[in-house]
Subunit: 340 residues, 2 copies
């Protein structure tokens, strides 16, 4: 065990695009777990777009991170010390907390991971919150039918990749939207979407017209902005928009106007938002379905791993600008299951 903990604190609330100066990296003592707690040595920290909302201070569905507090985040790691009978030193777990190397957390919130079931890091991605997000939004809102056309924005990202692959499995035609030729190539060739549009190089509207000649039945909204504007008028009657996030607008100082809603009447659209944390109880059901597909390689995933906690702020800022390629993780320390 290292001698010291390291933490990333929120130094001040960012205005617009966050900078590394909005964060403080500090050394601190390794905490002592209390009765019923365990000390988790972090191995992977998940960085996700929702964190931008947590540091804005605006009213939202969850409490914001206080200025001066450790940045929020989900961690997989290994038990370093346990004061709960259910966990022993060396156990792999999901449920460490925050942008820090060590966290003392209530054992009630920890879930043991079996590295033989799937790589530990997947508990933060394809088999974790982002995967469950895709599953819930697709089953509860999108409900793609065989032959329908589904457009997924941020298609190579942690949520979009699963949403698109599950929509394919449901028999839909799936069109991705991603930034840059590398991501588009990956989405088409590895994840086998029917097509992927590069929003950086193309006129989105004409590109959509070219690959969605029958219009769009389901739009998975991860990004907002130009992509939303291009897809909205191309929705078919009875189209659904799965409102998952609008990452391209998270750094905006003022909200942009949205689409005029009269077409929701004319076309009988359903525009519905959801938050995966309302549906945590379905994680088991999701993992039971998805883990075998991950092991067989039928459900592909890609991770973008950044080494070292000190690079977390920069990586997070990049995530908001779409500079990651796959599920963004920070490696906090050795992963004995990978080096083995």
């Amino acid at each position: 065990m290292d001698n010291r903990n390291q933490q990333v604190l929120l130094k001040r609330r960012p205005t617009g695009v966050p900078t590394t100066a909005d964060f403080d990296i500090v050394d601190s003592p390794i905490p002592d777990p209390r009765d019923g707690e365990a000390l988790v040595r972090g191995i992977y920290l998940s960085l996700d777009p929702y964190m931008r909302g947590r540091i804005s201070g605006a009213r939202s569905y969850a409490k914001p991170v206080d200025v001066g507090a450790v940045m929020e985040g989900r961690v997989v790691g290994q038990i370093a010390r346990s004061r709960d009978l259910r966990f022993q030193e060396g156990d792999y777990v999901f449920g460490g907390y925050g942008w820090q190397l060590y966290s003392a957390v209530p054992a009630d919130g920890l879930v043991k991971l079996d590295p033989a079931e799937a790589p530990m890091s997947t508990a933060l991605g394809v088999l974790g919150m982002p995967g469950l997000t895709a599953y819930v939004g697709l089953n509860d809102i999108g409900r793609p039918q065989p032959g329908e056309t589904v457009v997924v924005s941020a298609a190579s990202g942690a949520v979009g990749a699963v949403a698109g692959q599950l929509a394919k499995r449901a028999g839909a035609r799936v069109i991705g939207v991603a930034g840059g030729p590398e991501k588009c190539h990956y989405v088409e060739e590895e994840m086998r979407f029917d097509a992927c549009i590069d929003h950086r190089s193309t006129n989105l509207g004409s590109a959509l017209d070219a690959v969605c000649s029958n219009g769009v039945d389901v739009y998975w909204e991860n990004v907002g902005g130009d992509v939303q504007q291009a897809v909205f008028p191309r929705l078919n009657d009875f189209g659904r928009i799965v409102m998952c996030g609008m990452v391209s607008e998270y750094n905006d100082l003022e909200p942009r106007p949205g689409p005029n809603l009269m077409s929701a009447v004319r076309k009988r659209l359903k525009i519905q938002g959801f938050i995966v944390s309302d549906q945590w109880q379905r994680l088991g059901e999701y993992r039971a379905m998805a883990a075998p597909l991950v092991r067989s390689g039928e459900l592909k995933y890609r991770e973008h791993i950044v080494d070292g906690l000190n690079r977390a702020p920069e990586a997070f800022i990049g995530l908001l600008g779409g500079r990651n390629f796959g599920k963004l993780l920070v490696r906090l320390g050795d992963d004995p299951t990978r080096s083995a």
Copy 2:
């Protein structure tokens, strides 16, 4: 039987606010019903906001009225001549067609009305398309729960009045929005909504805050514009918007921007549109529920009757500006069931 038919034709597509010069009133021969048709002498013509869409020429869910053609509209009347065994001269029917005194229509599309069940005119309002609209939107989308707060725009109108009263019967607190003190008084005192806000005289936002201290769970959207802008930010988590229409914007030359949709994610909103004509098959179910309530006076309705087909254009233009008070009907000819 008069010697001549009279018809209102669409003379040209209006730009912005329609004027009477956009319509032509012409005399024409009374048509001869063919085999399987009946000649209907119109008694009441229904004027409804959706007609603005039919004369705009824009792509919509239904075919537009051609320039030079008879204006579309639903009619109740009396059979003047029948060439179908199911109907006899003198029968009261729903299903005449268009802004005209007489129409020859397929008997298959006619429904006999029993004036003893409810006044004939209600087949165009509280027990017809507008009532069914309220029923479908409330049951399928709004689903108000006991204790929830429902805001209904155009609350004294044909659809809003039924939507609000049905929401009250479901146990919700119901707040109307209407234009002018007379309508608000009617909504509060006769229809027994919990409150009604006059959007013409008040700051809508503060008025809503005053009467919706727990926020808004369901918004019945009939009008768009300022009312939508005021209600949207006051929606609660898991709020629903029943997108029925946006009449205050129907004369716009360019669509106005709508609300930024990120709050649909944060608040898990559902914004859903519908068109009643998709659900005609539920009219019987609705009438079975609603007709007894109309007879007992538990479901109130108000009609705004304008006399004479030649006044239809002016009445329709007024409807788009909210100058009607209750379900707008044009009396085309004698109603023997009322004069009796």
